[in-house]
Each structure stands twice: as C-alpha cells, then as structure tokens.
C-alpha cells in the first residue's frame, strides 16, 4: 500500500509550505507513512515556522486589558432589564474596569495601565476584539474557542494546522498540548475530529519540566542501552516474520517504525527539557 505521491504533487498539496520539502523527504524515505489526508485546496503563503497558542483560562478580563467599555462607566451599578437574569449566585450591577486606558502605537490600540510593557510593543501585536461567545459555561465555551463548536466532536486548531500546513517530523505527534496539572479542556485541545488520526495532538502535563516526569515511561529502567538494543532487534525480527507471513499492513508497519523511532531517540541520546 505505497502511497502514490510524486514530489510535485505533494509540494503542490502542501502549498509550498515550510515543512513541505522536509515532509516529502520523510515520506519518500518512509513509504508506509499513512498519507490519507492533507489540505488540497488553493495555495497558501505559509511563512510561519511554528504556531504557539497560549490559552490562558482564568486570566484577567479583556475589559481590564484591551477592551475598554465606556458604557459600563455610564451605567455603573445598574441592572438593566436585559441583564437582570436569575443567576446561580448573588450578583451586583454593571461594573466598570477600575483601570486606566490609553492609546498606544501607530494605530492607537487601547491598552490598560496593567500592561505597560506590552503597550510599548503594541505595533507588533494583533488585538482582536470582535469575538463573542453564546455559551457561558466553561467546558462548552472552551470547546467553542478551540474547535468552533460547543459540541466536542470537531477538530481543534492544532489539528487544522497540521492538516493545512503539514509537519516535518515523522515520529512525533502532529502537535503537542501542554496542560498544567494534566487537566484543562479535555480533548478539545488535541482532537483531530473528522480529520485523519495523524492530525491528532498529544497532551503533556507541563507542571513537570523534566521530560522523564512529563512523558510516562520515557526511559527503560530495567535494562542497559545494549540490552535494549538487542531486545528491540529480537522484537523486530519476530515482527518482520509475522508481517511477511500476514502481508502488508499499515498498522503493523507503523508499530514497527514507531518502536524503532522510540528506541533511537530514548536509548542513545538525551531528550531536551521543556526549558530548552
């Protein structure tokens, strides 16, 4: 089941993105890599090398940072009919931000006094103030942010990045999600949804900075590197014999390749720490 992908086809598919050349090489080298679905539409000028998304649940309100609401000052303390909802706990009237706003940069972006340093470089920042939610409950609202739907079935931002831009590694997850304490938004952050499974991200608990603590079973605590090498050879020998007897299969071959990749990276070398 060799995927028939010419270099040209693949580069076209990838829109000439940065990872494209490297990915083509990886696919040529590893002909069994499952290439079921990548973006196949019009070319996009993909200049980004990395996409890092910080989702700061529980951070300060936008109303205190980038989004001044003069009307709040005007109607301070009032409870107009449209907001006089029965709430779970006792609530007061409308509350204006207690912080001072000024305009910064060439475009006069509003930034509050809480963020003087960010205000000094605001021309390099894109502030979007037009977003809204229609669901005030944490879990569905998070899902809405990460996937565009309150139903937790659709692909996450990372999965779309992987689908649209590709990736230049062949043995690591499409993208990683760092969740302090291992909790967070459940699967909404890493889900590939209806996109093929290779666009699935992996969650790591980043309360731990050491890779050994972050990634379970990263190291073999029982055998020396030489023994691990010999054991893996023995496993591969059995797997190859089984594969030959059964016939070509994506899963069998994927598992063989992953074992190999895991052994090479964990056995010999040193894993980078989160700080690096």
């Amino acid at each position: 089941m060799t995927p028939h992908l010419s270099r040209r086809t693949l580069l076209t598919r990838m829109g000439g993105g940065l990872g494209a050349a490297a990915l083509t090489d990886l696919l040529t080298r590893n002909a069994n890599a499952a290439v079921r679905g990548f973006y196949n539409g019009p070319k996009l000028p993909a200049r980004a090398k990395h996409v890092i998304m910080l989702f700061l649940a529980g951070g300060p309100s936008h109303v205190d940072m980038f989004d001044p609401k003069p009307a709040l000052e005007k109607y301070k303390g009032q409870r107009p009919g449209s907001v006089d909802l029965r709430t779970e706990r006792e609530t007061g009237g409308l509350l204006p931000s207690p912080f001072q706003f000024n305009k910064y940069g060439r475009n006069g972006v509003d930034v509050s006094e809480l963020l003087p340093k960010l205000a000094s470089v605001i021309d390099d920042v894109c502030v979007i103030r037009s977003m809204y939610t229609f669901n005030p409950t944490h879990t569905p609202a998070r899902s809405l942010y990460h996937t565009g739907s309150i139903l937790a079935t659709r692909p996450s931002t990372g999965a779309w990045m992987s689908y649209g831009l590709g990736t230049d590694n062949d043995n690591l997850p499409a993208f990683v999600v760092l969740t302090p304490g291992g909790g967070g938004s459940g699967g909404s952050l890493s889900r590939s949804g209806f996109l093929p499974a290779e666009h699935q991200g992996i969650s790591f608990n980043c309360s731990e900075a050491e890779p050994e603590k972050m990634i379970p079973d990263l190291r073999n605590r029982w055998s020396s590197a030489e023994t691990q090498r010999a054991d893996l050879d023995a496993i591969q020998q059995l797997n190859h014999a089984f594969g030959e007897q059964f016939g070509p299969d994506d899963y069998l071959e994927g598992r063989i390749n992953l074992d190999q990749a895991v052994e090479t990276s964990a056995g010999g070398g040193r894993w980078p720490t989160l700080a690096e």
Partner: protein, 324 residues
C-alpha cells in the same frame, strides 16, 4: 429498585439571588420556552410530545413525564431511523468499521452510508425479525463477507486499498480492555472475580479485568486513554484508533509490561531445558509453537539474556495486539 423515576423539574423561586432546581417525583409538567436560558422570563408553554421531524402525527405525551410514550414512538414512528442506527453499530462492532462513519449522527451533518442498500435491507429484516439482536448478530456473522480472511491480496489492494467493497475482513487490533486483560491473563496475574467497585487501572496492584477500570471525568486513567479510550466528559459513539509513540514507550518501558514479563517467566514449564521453556512461553503468549527458526533465535538469545527478558520481547510483539 427503580434507578430511574419520573419527576418534573421546577425552579424554586424562594431565593431571589440563588437558583435552586427542584425535581418533584411523581409529577409531570409541560415546560415553557426559556429564551436564552433565562428562567426569570418564561415564554409560551410547549406541550411535551414526540419530535415533530420524526412523528407521523402530533403525538402528545400523556402518561407521566412521557418516558414510556417516547420509547414507544422510537420503536414505531422512528423505527426506520432507530433500526438503521443499531444495525450500523452492530455491523461496526463485528467489522471494525461502520457503514455510516458517524454512528451518532444520521442527520444532515453526518456521513452518508457507504452501502445504503445493505443498511436498508438489514434494518428492514431486523425489524421484521422482531428487533432481535441475536438474529442480527447471526445474520452478520454467517455472511460470506464476515467470514472472509483479512489477508491482503495484491490485486485487491491495488483496486480498493480502503476495503470499502469488503473484499476481505478488516484487520483489527485489540482494544485496551482485551489487550490489558490478555497481558494480565498470560502472566497469571489476572483476578477474574466478577462484580464490585471500579478501581484505578494505572495502579500496579490493579489486576482485575479492565472493564472494572474507573472512568473518572476529572481524573481519567492514563493507560486506557493511551489506547484511545474516549473523553469521559462527552458522549462518544466509538473510539478513534491512534498509533502513537507513547504506546511504544508503554510497551517497551512500562512497569506494567515488566510485571507481566516477570509473571510469565515465573509460570512453570512442562519440562526442563531452555527449549521447553521457550515453547511454553510461545504457547502461553502467542497460543502457538515457535517455528524452528524462532526457536533457534530464542535459544541463542537465552545464552546471554534472561527468560524474563525474552518473555518481555514476546509480549511486545505485533502478534499480541494484532487481530487478523
């Protein structure tokens, strides 16, 4: 004891600043529309009845909350949908791949069936056979398609690599329940006792069947998650299978696999000598004898390595988790 009972939901208005929800058992009511979920401004009352889009006529629910009416309508008015939904799921459990790729969504946002006539025919005959699941299982499992080998064929692979025409059985792999149970069983560690509370499947002392693994919404067990156990905070129609580097790390490095290997190596062999021991390991783990070549390799491995290491090698093989 009834674990489900009829009750009507009310908002207790006694505290202006706090919303208490009351459930009054034995009562039934028609709810008003709450625009934007605002319970302070109830709108028009909507009588409880079956979904208009599936109903053949306007069926008001009259008995209690309407649970019984609902169940009856699902098996009458909605029978064409309900029967296709369950047929699709049973098919997927047997073939590893559903006929409709979105088992919980047969609506406009779901996928179309790959074999619409097959789904219609099975669903119609399923209803004619009194909604008998036993009939459905038998019908599927006695089919020629189900009994085909999963062996790949070169010409067929070239024509239909995704096996959408069912020219072979789909090769499957063990789900985490079967896989973990297998590893516990072959190592002699499995506690097969039935019933009782769930337990933490990540704990080294947990040796009960994986069906007893606790599925906590706030603290999901890591091992089942690693093998595609779905997010317990949401409903899920099935598992999306992944093959990840973290699974390899589990197999090659985890203490669970180490304990399994120790367990297998401790099991008594039928006879003395390395050859007898190797044969015993193969039978126990792979349920077959080693080939002459495999026996040779194993013996030369044992000249330097331990029986336990060799057990770990066999436990790590594709043959253990692969289900042809």
């Amino acid at each position: 004891m009834n674990v489900v009972y009829d009750a009507a939901q009310f908002v207790d208005g006694s505290d202006a600043n706090y919303t208490f929800i009351n459930y009054k058992p034995g009562e039934a009511r028609d709810h008003p529309v709450l625009a934007a979920g605002n319970v302070s401004a109830p709108g028009a009352v909507v009588p409880r009845r079956f979904l208009a889009v599936l109903a053949r006529e306007d069926h008001r629910f009259t008995r209690g909350s309407g649970r019984l009416d609902l169940a009856e309508r699902i098996f009458s008015d909605a029978a064409p949908l309900a029967s296709r939904v369950i047929v699709n799921r049973v098919w997927a459990w047997h073939f590893g791949k559903p006929l409709v790729a979105t088992p919980s969504d047969f609506g406009t946002q779901g996928e179309k069936p790959t074999h619409p006539e097959l789904l219609d025919d099975l669903a119609a005959r399923f209803v004619r056979n009194g909604w008998s699941l036993k009939w459905l299982h038998r019908e599927i499992m006695l089919s020629e398609a189900y009994r085909r080998s999963s062996r790949p064929r070169k010409d067929a692979l070239a024509a239909d690599a995704a096996n959408s025409l069912l020219w072979r059985m789909n090769p499957r792999r063990l789900d985490i329940e079967s896989y973990r149970d297998t590893l516990l069983r072959v190592s002699g560690r499995l506690n097969p006792e039935l019933y009782g509370p769930s337990e933490d499947a990540d704990s080294e002392t947990s040796v009960r069947r994986t069906v007893y693994a606790r599925a906590s919404r706030s603290r999901p067990a890591k091992l089942p998650q690693l093998y595609d156990f779905p997010d317990a905070t949401q409903t899920s129609p099935g598992r999306d299978l992944t093959t990840s580097a973290l699974q390899s790390l589990f197999v090659l490095n985890s203490s669970f696999m180490k304990l399994a290997a120790e367990g297998v190596a401790r099991q008594p062999a039928g006879a003395d000598g390395d050859a007898a021991r190797v044969r015993e390991l193969f039978r126990r783990i792979l349920a077959r004898d080693p080939t002459a070549k495999e026996l040779d390799s194993a013996l030369s491995y044992l000249a330097r390595g331990s029986l336990e290491s060799y057990a770990r090698i066999l436990l790590s093989c594709n043959e253990v988790i692969f289900w042809p």
